[in-house]
Symmetry: C2
Subunit: 194 residues, 2 copies
DNA sequence: ATAATAACCAACCGCTCGGTATGTTGCAAG
DNA sequence: CTTGCAACATACCGAGCGGTTGGTTATTAT
């Protein structure tokens, strides 16, 4: 990787971390510059504006990360159990600070969807892709599931409950509440089976 | 009501609206001043800082509103149906822009819980009160519910799903997704019955 | 070897923000 | 009648922000 590309990737990675921790608006370019030990000129050579940097973080960091994380648990033989295992393992392995930090996608959705159309459309697309993954997984084992289910609706419900769980744990600064909601979510998911 | 108290209430009401629409940080004092047609001196006569104004909005506007909204559907004979009716009626009656605007409590939780301890504790208290309302309602009809339920966990799950539903509708700018998640949530709630 | 361009730096700009200092008005008690 | 304080108004401050400008160094193509 060329030096320039290295610089760019470093900016993206640091920006992704800052945006995850403090949100897009509260992320200061000067902090990114300090952490990367570069000048403002360097940053503006690689990105035309803060907004473009935000979009790049979304597309080049968050999106591949997200698809990667969700694909594996849904690709197993029994996606219902795969999903539940994934959720419980995640709650167990995540540090308290990670839980409190929330999901990058949900954070950006709350912060930016009503403010910037570029972010909104990217978030929407990501959510639809994620929902599609769940729907396909459910369809794969539909013969083992209750008959009256609306898969897309179920998929969005699962995502909603998960996002709500992270939101709740932000006020309690505690994994306990998060774990409870995930536990209840797993009960719901397992009850999808016949 | 005295003129001064009138001014104070006006500030609170306008600030509550601005914070609901744009969040706490993005709410500019100058906008509040313009809408209220008062000077900065007037605002700082009634509130010592923007933070204190935010706390006052939470305690004097959001809290009573919230408790009022949730108490009625949970106080009826069958709180399960009361809750489902409440949720579906809400989705039907809320305008699209209201849905997209989100829940003030959840918005503040996402924005401020990780940033300011004063907000965090107030939000936490409000969520616990809300959960308590649900738990008490469930206990009231526990003989009609499935035996193995953990009421507190169920309460938080319901709140989480609801919050997640508003989050999802922010990216779609659409009531449809919100309605779907609420519909699935009602299926879950009704399935709490034996 | 040199010209051109990529990659980067330092200094500065305008703007908005929350907050403050000082001044003015009006009512109400003594 | 005046003294005093509540209830405002006006003007200003410093800080931090995203972004721009003009210049410098390093790399690459001819």
């Amino acid at each position: 990787m060329s030096d320039a590309e290295q610089t760019r990737q470093n900016i993206l990675s640091v920006a992704a971390d800052e945006i995850h921790q403090h949100g897009y608006k509260a992320t200061s370019l000067s902090v990114i510059l300090n952490r990367c030990e570069i000048s403002k000129g360097a940053l503006y050579h690689h990105f035309t504006s803060k907004m473009e940097l935000g979009y790049a973080v979304f597309e080049e960091v968050y999106t591949p990360m997200f698809l990667g994380v969700w694909q594996s648990p849904l690709s197993v033989e029994d996606p219902i159990e795969g999903l539940c295992d994934f959720l419980t393992t995640m709650t167990e392995e995540m540090s308290c600070s990670e839980v409190v930090c929330g999901c990058p996608l949900n954070n950006l959705c709350e912060e930016m969807a009503n403010v910037d159309e570029g972010f909104r459309l990217r978030i929407l697309s990501m959510q639809e892709q994620l929902n599609q993954l769940i729907v396909e997984a459910l369809e794969k084992v539909s013969e083992n599931l209750r008959a009256e289910l609306a898969f897309s609706q179920v998929g969005y419900f699962i995502v909603a409950a998960l996002n709500g769980a992270t939101s709740l744990s932000k006020s309690s600064r505690n994994k306990a509440l998060f774990q409870q909601v995930i536990a209840e979510l797993c009960l719901y998911i397992r009850a999808l089976k016949k």
